[in-house]
Structures are given as structure tokens and as C-alpha cells.
Subunit: 575 residues, 2 copies
């Protein structure tokens, strides 16, 4: 299994990568190599699929590639197209497909039968479902081909493929990461393997694409449900397994199973070359020592890979972060330094009259520990200039949110000026708790190209920061950053808890409301004061307009604030 | 047909409105009254539908409402739910439904069979398709019930309903406006009526919801395909039609038609009260004089209704617009003044050293003509303060985009300060041409809550401005605003055409690329220099990150820049 990292839209480069990893697989004596879902286009290609030229280009790339793939069988994801339906071009006649390439030619094409259209997925927008499953036989072993969602249903194509004689199911994936997902996948795959007495080779994409991170962590599971090989977490990997296929007695159809109708079955001639063995039926190779990560390490790796890929795939080389001396900006800077190298990150400290001496010390120490450039740009002068310019217009009212937000927006403007001047990417530092309740200034601290910890609740920000220090073996993020009270420092003696409930309470309420769709009453019943719950729910609801203008950030929870959660701005519910 | 304007999420208010219009229909002696699609929830409720509490509340509202609807038959859109499917709660067991309410009780519920999942629609994300069509018979006349997309397919439920004896098809809609759509709808409906020998009562929602405007313009079409009544454009309306139903000979099944299986048919007892006639079979009432608008008037009405509803449904009472003296901000201010009243709009002129005397004169004259408040807030002082603060950090390089953008961002900050202080909604003034190529400053002129003309190409901005003056019978927008060269005035002697091709060329290329998915080669073949096309295409592609952070704006073209067009930011295609 080639667990690789393509780039959405980079058709030629993705085809090139496919060829390169096919060669690696050949050098490892593989008979069959599997690539991720939509390898040629990258995933998700979104509305690029509505461009006929894009789909044609991806097919041309696949065709050219297939001629170069010799001496091996390769299964490669791409967008297939059948005759267009004139009136409903949007309903399209495109398919999320896998080409069965064998020794220089495309022998068959499988069309994904189950299309996810929930969460971050919009596959019904682009694709039509396939109508028949595909098995192929090579050297006496029968392989079933499936794509991602196909394998999630007990009554899906796997059952029919197994009933039609499949020994091994290869499943091509672009399965986005969220915390806890690996265990869910593994449990499902083990059950699917056992229930159908098949080996499952689950190959996942790796890499970051806007809001999504694909975590790799492919698996090969034997027919008893045991994981016999794992792909690296958050990295490219070639997962090589020799399978011992025990020829089974004629299969009994499981009770309640679909008869194996609608399964195409083609036979490929084994490839023999001077150096090439026929399909080796040898002892199973044990798991090669890749261990699943702890949940915090997984999240850190997801954030680093997501940040690194967003920066590099968008052609940036350098990132800039506003440092406040607080925990959020410290974690973001540390992730950026790890992902890009300290020399490719600038931290900017922008003190106002409300900024404490401790904030400066902590920000400076962090920058030194990370080896990143540290700039100090005070905003006092600009702030005074705004206040004097706006004196008449604001009518001498008491300073309030308007004046506080001006400070945040000055900082946003300064970072954007550096971005415009030097071509740096601005990373924003808002966490999921703040973004959920709108405790952030639009065009202020929300200004930037990528929101690294947008899906990380504040309580988890502390955990990840701790873990990061532990991994580094030293206090990269200074101790005081963990212990002082969180504050936006937009006025004197301000702390987050003037406005928000304690973060452990807030995060629990937010999880129930944002991720689990519980009502205020149901959340209160979990043991929170109804008044607090109502306040939080209201803050979430009325700040939808801010989130709509937020930069994308990396999904690490079951429901992130992005295309995972599509709420109306104009919304009278609960008001 | 009650062509009404509900608010998404305002369940109780929407139910109340349903009752109020039912009473109006009774006073007009109607036997049957039809409401729009998803009347109880508003459309589109988006991810509110994933909240079990929201769906339960909408069903409770419908049930309570049904008991109050007496002496008439009402067909009311709502979200229905059947037993949930445990694992795939996202796939849901919700239906886009219509309740058949008759004299105090729900007699049947129809589930929409065709679910749109393209363009701005995501119905497969929320709903499952219904499996059977619904006819009901009242006083000897058979009605078929359908929802929106159901009627767009020649082989859809209408054919089966007609074959099963339907005389009248009532179709509940939330059909979003775009220029030219009325003619497409009308042509389709006339054909559907003729092909099936049925009367079609097509009732559409009216009102603005975030990016969408529903235009009303319902129609009743007789079985010969003639429009016999029209609902008002962009306004609530009760469309009352007496239908003369000629009892037909037993219907011959059209060749190739589905047999009328899967059509439920229920019979309702006619309601007789002292004042109530039985179903009147009288002469057809001719079209009552509502005429379709010209395309420019339609677009203006869409922009006004969309702006008015966004402002009011979100609880604002006052809007603020940055006035530059140019055509875009002039049109936006004029639309706002028309939609909200001049007294509820403030125009802010924010001159820099690059601002011409003519700009001030034109902005001032416009504000006077519109009767809106006019503020002047110079940005020179703040700009100088930024430049001096950033002197070291920007390293004495030649002033360029970074310095220009600071000016735009100061203006954005000033408008947001007014917004924060006074609770005003900031309307942005960018047009579709600029937003497409990224000729706008993120957090600068793009800062605001609602982007009125985001989907209006620059060439159409001129047309609509002209038309607006004509409708007013005077030069509300001063003559010079039309004749001077468009400029951002961010440096000396700057005009848009330093950077962009002439707007007529740009808009034609953009239409082909953004709305029609043509490739650069195909666009060049339409008669544009390939170099220009490539430049424009590239500008569109690389500015996706800006659009992702733009405020929502009103869709008036077949493909708007919003949820209508979902492009990846990270995108190697064509690079």
C-alpha cells in the first residue's frame, strides 16, 4: 500500500508521484500496489470536478500513467466520467473511481458505490454511485476493490465481493483525521474482516488539505480480525505485506447476505519477469512495529502536518504569528516552528498600554526557546491616532468594545502589512472555545490565512502545550504561560473569565452543543447551570457571522467549525 | 397560494404567519391554501436540521398549528422525522415534507422525492427522499402535492400523479432567484402542465436568507400551459384563483409513463360552514395584472429585498457604508437607502492624501440625494502613524501593496468601530468582478457584515445604477460617477485598468470561467487574447483565500461566489 501525500489539483505531479511509488513497490517485490482514493486529483477536489476540462485532464493523466505502469498491478483513484446528462450537468456523470492498471493497461474501472454526503463530505454533489462491485483474480488470489465509505456498511459491497470469492479486499481511502477516529476505523475493519473471512488492506491518504488532515495509519487486517501491518501516522509510507492466502472451502453464503450478483470478476495474467516472482504465497509478515500514537501526540502531529502542508502547498516559505505571551499564541508558534523550522517563523509582539511586563518576558522567552525571529511593534501610537481621529464620530461615549477591538485590529493590520510586504503567511491563534462563542475580534486576532488551533478547545490547548514541552524535554513554552489567568489584555485587569465561564465548564458545554447537537435543556441535565448553558448557546448562535469570515483551520474533533458545521447566519431559532 | 416570507429558525413566528395567512385565504373564500416549502423552519435551515431538538420543536409547532386550521385545507411545508438510524445520524431520517392539514387535523404527510444537491442546495445532507407521491380529492377535484425539485423532471412524480387522476398539482417552493430564472421556471411549468393535462399551482417563498433571495412570482398555469395568475415579484402576496375543472374522460396513460403505482390517494370531506361555499367550480379568473419585471428591475428588487431582510432578520436597524465617490459604493448606498429608508443609513467618506476633490463632491452629492447621514473621517493621521510604527519592520523598502492596503484596512477599522459603537451593520461595496479576481483588500474594503453587490459584475453595476436613477426620475447617483475612470485611490493616478483588463472584457471572461466552467483555451476561442484570459484565470484561482473570508452577499447570477461555488484554497490545478 502506497500511503502517499498528493496535492489537490496538481494532476501531473500526483501522477508522477504514483509512478515513483509504483517503482518503490516493485523494488519491494510487490505484486499489487494500492494508492489512496482520488490519487490523481487529490482529495477533496470540490468544485474542480464541475469543470469538464479538469476531469478531462485527470483522465488524460491517468491514461498516460497507465502506460508507464509495467510489471505490477496498481489500483489508482481518479475521477471517471461517463456521458454527460445535458440538462443536469451539476448532477454530473462523474464517478469517484479506481482504475485497475495491470502491466501497462487499464483492465477495469470501479465506481464507488456508497457516497458520503455528511460532515465535511459532499460527494453527492459531484458523483453518481456505481452500480456494480469489482473483483479481480491474480495468481489464484481474488481481490475485491472498494473505496472508503463502501467498507463502512455491513451490507455494503464487501459482503457481495466476499460471497463472490474475494480473499482480499483492498480499500482506497481519503479518510480525514479526528481524535479517536483510528480506533473507530480499526474496530469496524476488524469486524468486517471477520464477518466476511477476508483480508482487508485499508490504505489511507496522508497530508493536509485546507481544513482536513489525512492521517495515513493504513492497516492490513487478516481474516481473523488481527492487524498484521500498520502504516506510519501522519507520514508517507510504503506498507509491504506478504499474504498467506489459505484457499478456503467453497464459501457458505452468510445468512441474510445478498447473493453475489452485481460483482464483476476479471482474471489478470500473472506477470513474470526475470527478476519477478509469481504471486508469493508466503508466511504472513507480522506488524512491523508501527504503534498508534497517544491522543495528544496524534493531535500535535495532525496540527503540524496540517500547518506544514497548508504553508508549502500554497507556496509560502515563512509564517508570522502575533505573540501575546499567552498559551494560544505560544502553542501556535511552537507548532509552526516544528512544522516549518524555527528559521521560517517570525513572532511579533505588539504591546499596548494594557500589556503587562510578564507578557513581554514570556513571549520573548518562547521565541528564544523556539529559535524564531522576534519583533516588537508597539501599537500605542496608532491606537491614539485612531482614538483622536474617531473622537467626533464616536461622540465622546465611554470607551468600550469598539475601542478595545481597535487594538486587536491594529495588530491584525500590522501582521497583514508584514504578510503583504514579505509574502509571509499569517497564522491566527484563536482556539475552538473562543471561536465557538465569538470571543475574538473579526479582522483583529481573527485576521490571517490559516487558523492552526481553530478546532482545539482551550482545555486541550493546555494539554497539547504540556505534551509539547514534554516531547521537547524542556520548557519550550515557559511555565508561567500555563499558570497565569488567560486574558485578551484589551483593557486593565481583564481576564477571559470576566466574560466566559471557566474553560472546563465552557468546553464541556460547547462539546455537547457544537459537536453533539444537544439542546440547552439536555446540556443542563448533564449538570450545568441552565443560565450558564443558555448564555453559552446564545453566544455561539449570535457569532455565526464571525466564524463565516474566519480563516480555515485544522479539523481535529468530530465536528469542526468549518464546512463540517453549516449554520445559517440569519437564524431565529431559540431567539 | 400564500406567497409569504418566513424567517429561518423562527418556528413559532412562522407558524403564526401560517395561521394569519390561512385566515386571509378563508376570507377570500379559498377551499385550499398552499404555503411555501419548509414554511415552518424557513429555507434553508441548513445544519439546524441535524439538531434533534430543532426538528422536534418544528413538529410540535406544526401539530399545534394544525389544530387551529379549521374550515379550510392547508398544505404546509415542514421537516418531518421518522425513526432515526442509530449509526448514521448524519444521513438522518428527516424528510423535506408537506403536511396536508384539513379542518383541524393532519390527514397525510408528503415527503419530497427529488432532493437537489447541487449549486446552493445540500438537501442530501439533511433529508432522505420520499418513496410515494400523494394525491388528495376534495369535492370531486383531485390535487397532487409536490415540493420544488419534484416538478423539474418529466419523469418525476407529476407524471404518476396525473396518471392517477390529479387535476391540479400544487407545488411548494423555496426557489432562489437568479437573473433569468423566472423564464426557465415558466417554460418548464407550461410544458409540465401541457404534457400532463394538469393545472399547476406553483407557490414560491419570498424573502432574503443570507446569500439567497426568494423572489415569489408564483404562478398558476392551466392545463393548456397558459399562465392564469401570477404572484407579486419580491413581495408577500395571496394569489387567489378560482379554477374551472373540466372533468376529463378517464385518462389515457401517456406512452412511456410510469404506471400510477406508488401514489397514495386520500379523499377529504368537503367543508361546509354557514359562510362557506362548497368547492366552487367557476370560470377561470384571468391573470390579475401582475407583470414580470425587466431584468434590471428584478435585480434591483432582489438586492433591496435581500439587504432589507438581512438587516431586519438579524436585528439591525441601521447600516453604514464607506463612500468613495465611486459607482460601487454609490449603488450600495442607494440600495440601502431604498431598502431601509435614508434615515437608517450613514455614509462615511474617509479621504487620504490620494483622494480627489471630485470624489468628495460626488460622495457628498450622493448622500444629499439619498437623504442619508454623511460623515467625513480623514485617515491621513492614522496612516502616517502606521507608517512610522512599521518603519523599522518594513525595512525602508519602496512603498507598495502593503502600504496601499493599510489605507483600505484603516477604513475597514473605522467602519467596524462605528459598527461596534452604535450597533450598525457595515455593508461592503465590492462587486463580483473585483471579488472574482481578488481586486479588494481583505479586512479593508472587504470588512463588513453583508456584501450587497458581491454577485453583481461591474458592467451590471453601471446598468443598475442607471436604472436606479431612471426609476427615481432624477440623478440620485451623480452623472460624473458614471463617467470617471474607476479607481481605488490607494496611490496617485491609479485606475482599475492599470491592473485589470477593461471591465466589459473582464466580465465576459469571468462569466465563462466562474459561471460556465470553461477552460482558458475555450474562453480564448470565444475571441479573447489567451494571455489576458490566463491572467484573469490565475487571478481568480489565487484569490480563493480572500473570498473564503468575505461576508455573504446576494446571489443574482446562476453561480454566485459563496456556497454556490466551493473551490479548494490549496489547489495546484493550472499552476
Amino acid at each position: 500500500m502506497a500511503q502517499v501525500n498528493p496535492t489537490v489539483g496538481s494532476l501531473a505531479a500526483n501522477a508522477e508521484k504514483t509512478l515513483e511509488w509504483t517503482e518503490k513497490a516493485k523494488r519491494a517485490w510487490a505484486d499489487v500496489v494500492v494508492f489512496p482514493e482520488l490519487m490523481i486529483t487529490g482529495y477533496p477536489p470540490e468544485d474542480l470536478v464541475l469543470k469538464p476540462g479538469f476531469v478531462a485532464d485527470n483522465i488524460a493523466c491517468l491514461n498516460a500513467l497507465s502506460k508507464k505502469i509495467r510489471g505490477i498491478t496498481a489500483i489508482v483513484g481518479f475521477v471517471d466520467r461517463k456521458d454527460a446528462i445535458p440538462r443536469f450537468k451539476h448532477a454530473g456523470a462523474c464517478f469517484n473511481a479506481a482504475a485497475l492498471i495491470h502491466d501497462g493497461g487499464i483492465k477495469d474501472v470501479y465506481h464507488k458505490m456508497r457516497l458520503p454526503n455528511y460532515g465535511v463530505f459532499d460527494e453527492e454533489r459531484y458523483f453518481r454511485p456505481g452500480s456494480s462491485a469489482l473483483n479481480f483474480t491474480l495468481g489464484g488470489v481474488t481481490f475485491g476493490v472498494g473505496i472508503c465509505e463502501d467498507i463502512w456498511f455491513p451490507d455494503g459491497p464487501v459482503r457481495a465481493q466476499a460471497a463472490a470469492g474475494a480473499d482480499v479486499i483492498v480499500n482506497l481511502n481519503a479518510s480525514p483525521y479526528h481524535a479517536g477516529k483510528l480506533a473507530v476505523r480499526e474496530k469496524m475493519l476488524r469486524q468486517r474482516a471477520r464477518d466476511n473471512s477476508v483480508v482487508i488492506a485499508y490504505n489511507n491518504m496522508v497530508g493536509g488539505q485546507d481544513e482536513l488532515v489525512f492521517d495515513g495509519q493504513g492497516m492490513v487486517i487478516d481474516s481473523s480480525g488481527k492487524v498484521i501491518a500498520r502504516g506510519a501516522p501522519f507520514d508517507e509510507d510504503l506498507i509491504v505485506v506478504d499474504l498467506k492466502i489459505l484457499r478456503k472451502k467453497p464459501r457458505k453464503i452468510t445468512e441474510g447476505a445478498e447473493p453475489p450478483q452485481g460483482v464483476r470478476d476479471i482474471t489478470l495474467s500473472p506477470i513474470r519477469t526475470a527478476k519477478k516472482r509469481a504471486l508469493r504465497i508466503t508466511a504472513q509478515k507480522p506488524s512491523d512495529g508501527v504503534k498508534p500514537l497517544s491522543e495528544n501526540d496524534e493531535m500535535l502531529e495532525a496540527l503540524m502536518l496540517g500547518t506544514c502542508d497548508y504553508v508549502k502547498k500554497n507556496g509560502f516559505r515563512h509564517a508570522v504569528v502575533g505573540l501575546s505571551g499567552g498559551i494560544d499564541s505560544s502553542l501556535v508558534a511552537a507548532i509552526a516552528a516544528d512544522a516549518l523550522g524555527g528559521g521560517n517563523v517570525t513572532g511579533v509582539f505588539m504591546p499596548s498600554v494594557y500589556t503587562s511586563k510578564e507578557s513581554l518576558e514570556d513571549a520573548k522567552a518562547l521565541a528564544k526557546n523556539l529559535g524564531i525571529e522576534f519583533l516588537t511593534i508597539p501599537i500605542r501610537g496608532v491606537h491614539e491616532s485612531y482614538i483622536s481621529t474617531l473622537k467626533t464620530a464616536l461622540g465622546g461615549s465611554r470607551p468600550g468594545t469598539a475601542e478595545e477591538n481597535i487594538q486587536a485590529r491594529i495588530r491584525g493590520n500590522i501582521l497583514m502589512a508584514l504578510s503583504n510586504k514579505f509574502g509571509w503567511l499569517v497564522l491566527t491563534t484563536g482556539n475552538k472555545s473562543e471561536m465557538s462563542v465569538g470571543y475574538a475580534t473579526l479582522y483583529g486576532d481573527m485576521a490571517g490565512g490559516f487558523a492552526v488551533i481553530k478546532d482545539v478547545p482551550k482545555t486541550v490547548v493546555y494539554e497539547l502545550s504540556s505534551r509539547l514541552n514534554k516531547r521537547a524535554g524542556r520548557r519550550v513554552i515557559p511555565r508561567r504561560v500555563f499558570t497565569k489567568a488567560p486574558t485578551a489584555e484589551l483593557k486593565y485587569n481583564q481576564t477571559d473569565q470576566d466574560t466566559l465561564p471557566p474553560y472546563d465548564v465552557l468546553d464541556a458545554i460547547l462539546k455537547a452543543y457544537v459537536e453533539e447537537d444537544k439542546s440547552a435543556g439536555e446540556i443542563a441535565a448533564l449538570g450545568f447551570p441552565l443560565k450558564t448553558v443558555r448564555k453559552v448557546v446564545r453566544m455561539v448562535d449570535i457569532s455565526e457571522y464571525k466564524r463565516r469570515q474566519a480563516p480555515p483551520g485544522i479539523k481535529i474533533t468530530p465536528r469542526a467549525l468549518g464546512k463540517d458545521r453549516r449554520m445559517p447566519i440569519t437564524n431565529g431559532y431559540g431567539k
